[in-house]
């Protein structure tokens, strides 16, 4: 998947001031999934978040290394946002330990928050102020001199393609533009760690691709990204490693391809039988795939050799109305791990 073609203007054309451009704190990891070899930025052990009697996060362990992009994937209510808010030092932990940038959030919240940027799930922009004023005011919270924020604001608005709207009220922006502005705002302090809680939820495909492209560029600059999402393609594209969360716990953790290899087969055969109920056909398919799943409208056969499996199906004398052999995706892993039942 490719983001829509961009005007060729590179973001931050003049100077690159991102923290990791400084060679002293850049660590070029040799491969993409070696968390042990990176400087750990976020370390959680037995992390718990309770709201009264409700356990939102139920003892999770993870380490996020510098320069990594780490995703929390899970259905609604899995505990992703609670985890994000704890990492962002906005929500106290209920049990376990959490270190962010080597510090304890409960004692050194202001110092830690100075070094991280948050893109919350719900925008907290001031709708009545202009795009530029939103950035200026936010920069003030970080005690940045006005002229510094001005300079950065120009670069950031270029970066998120909002420079032409700088003087417009935020109220007049589209959803995608507001999201981009929120990201620009989170970058005003040049954070080492950028936390994005469902950055593209509710956006149209064009807006999502533009956002992905911008996040990908940030990642290349060495900004550590922590992202929650329930979009598989987003997780697959942006994240070096993923944690699949379900009911406050980790159902799995690893690189996207690792997860697919571990929890799914290489390929999936989809069979549709038109008038015939899938459940009627299913017994005849016993033993021809590693795993099979019967859905109301189709049957999924998990197999490492999709074409061979499909041939077997035909040899059994079955004539599906339509067939599809495809590669396994993260979505297969996700649904396998978190189930197909709707959780609300």
């Amino acid at each position: 998947m490719r983001p829509p073609s961009q005007p060729s203007s590179e973001p931050f054309p003049r100077q690159l001031t991102w923290p990791t451009v400084d060679p002293s704190n850049t660590f070029e990891a040799p491969t993409r999934a070696l968390p042990g070899s990176r400087e750990p930025l976020v370390v959680a052990r037995g992390l718990v978040k309770r709201f009264g009697g409700v356990v939102a996060v139920d003892g999770i362990d993870f380490t996020i290394g510098r320069g990594e992009s780490y995703g929390f994937l899970g259905p609604n209510g899995a505990g992703k946002t609670s985890t994000m808010r704890m990492i962002a030092c906005m929500s106290p932990i209920s049990a376990g330990t959490l270190q962010v940038l080597g510090r304890a959030p409960d004692r050194e919240g202001p110092e830690i928050r100075r070094r991280i940027g948050l893109v919350p799930q719900e925008d907290t922009l001031d709708l009545e102020l202009t795009v530029l004023d939103n950035l200026l005011v936010y920069g003030r919270y970080f005690d940045l001199p006005r002229h510094v924020v001005r300079e950065r604001a120009d670069e950031l608005l270029d970066f998120v393609q909002l420079n032409e709207r700088a003087r417009d009220k935020v109220d007049s922006l589209s959803g995608g533009m507001k999201r981009r502005l929120t990201i620009a705002r989170a970058l005003v302090s040049e954070p080492e760690l950028l936390i994005l809680d469902e950055p593209t939820t509710g956006l149209d495909p064009q807006a999502r691709h533009l956002l992905w492209d911008r996040l990908y560029r940030l990642k290349r600059r060495g900004v550590t990204l922590v992202i929650t999402t329930h979009y598989m393609d987003e997780a697959e594209q942006l994240c070096d490693r993923l944690a699949v969360m379900d009911r406050g716990r980790f159902a799995a953790e690893g690189a996207p391809q690792e997860l697919i290899a571990r929890y799914s087969t290489r390929e999936v055969v989809e069979l549709r039988f038109g008038e015939t109920e899938p459940a009627e056909v299913a017994p005849r398919l016993d033993g021809i795939a590693v795993r099979r799943e019967i859905l109301p409208d189709r049957i999924l056969l998990y197999s490492d050799e999709g074409d061979a499996t499909l041939e077997q199906v035909h040899r059994l004398g079955l004539t599906p109305e339509s067939t599809l052999v495809r590669r396994s995706s993260l979505e297969d892993v996700f649904l396998h791990l978190t189930g197909r039942t709707l959780v609300d």
Binding site: R113, L125, L127, L129, Y141, D143
Partner: protein, 272 residues
């Protein structure tokens, strides 16, 4: 709590050195840019209208029959009371809907808390902003009272800090209350059962000695009564030292208690 520069901070990081609560105050000043014209107009207009209609208009009738209220003309009696009442009203306006907006609708407080600011910075910054608003409103009121010729003492200028203190005695506890509200329904109750009766019966329009004894005791226990008495005492120059101290101590105590409640209430609502 002062800020310590930890080794976490990069040495080359540009910083101004502004205390954190002042950075949160800066936001409120920023967003005032879009409403200041309207709010300044009403700050001038209302005192003129009230003083002209009630002080001069109604006052001529009162003076004709009574000759003097508490030894002065009705206009002179009324004006400092209106100053204190206005501080109460402006304060209530600033500490109800804007607080709820910053929690529920605009979520500005949450934007602040994602940055180095803490809950205390958020509370202090907003209260500091309202204090500035009150100071402006009271100063304008006093200037207009001067134009109406109602200042009877050199101490009259102290009615500005007295008015600010009166306003804060409402602002701080109301902010604590507002931060605990799930919806704005509580605010109309606050206005109807709290602020409007206070406005009418706390000695702004007539001395509370006119009230039946039991109501007089109730009136004298309310914060607006003390605010009105303090402002009037300064403007008319007849404030006794002990009385002044009691009025001010009452209001200061309310501000202090309100502050503790506000920090608790904000923390409970914002840090979850």
């Amino acid at each position: 709590m002062g800020e310590t520069v930890s080794e976490l901070e990069r040495a080359d990081e540009p910083r101004v050195g502004t205390p954190r609560w002042l950075r949160s105050l800066a936001y409120w000043a920023y967003q005032y840019k879009r409403t200041w014209r309207g709010s300044l107009t009403t700050s001038f207009l209302y005192p003129v209208l009230y003083l002209a209609a009630l002080g001069v208009g109604l006052g001529s009738l009162v003076d004709h029959h009574v000759h003097a209220v508490s030894g002065v003309t009705y206009l002179d009696f009324l004006a400092p009371g209106l100053l204190a009442s206005t501080a109460m009203q402006v304060g209530a306006n600033e500490s109800t809907y804007p607080v709820m907006d910053a929690i529920k609708w605009g979520r500005t407080y949450f934007a602040m808390l994602a940055t180095p600011l803490t809950v205390k910075d958020v509370v202090r910054g907003h209260l500091a902003w309202i204090t500035l608003r009150l100071a402006t409103v009271c100063a304008i009121y006093l200037a207009i009272m001067d134009a109406f010729g109602t200042l009877r003492s050199g101490l009259a200028v102290l009615a500005v800090p007295a008015g600010v203190l009166t306003g804060l005695a409402f602002v701080v506890p109301i902010a604590a209350f507002a931060a605990a509200q799930e919806s704005d329904r509580g605010f109309s109750t606050l206005y109807r059962l709290g602020l409007i009766p206070l406005f009418l019966f706390s000695g702004t329009f007539f001395p509370v000695t006119q009230l039946p004894r039991w109501l007089q005791i109730v009136a004298e226990a309310t914060p607006l009564y003390h605010g009105v008495a303090l402002c009037r005492g300064f403007v008319l120059g007849d404030l006794g030292f002990t009385a002044g101290l009691v009025h001010a101590a009452y209001l200061v105590a309310l501000v202090a208690a309100g502050y503790l409640l506000a920090v608790r209430s904000y923390r409970k609502r914002l840090v979850i």
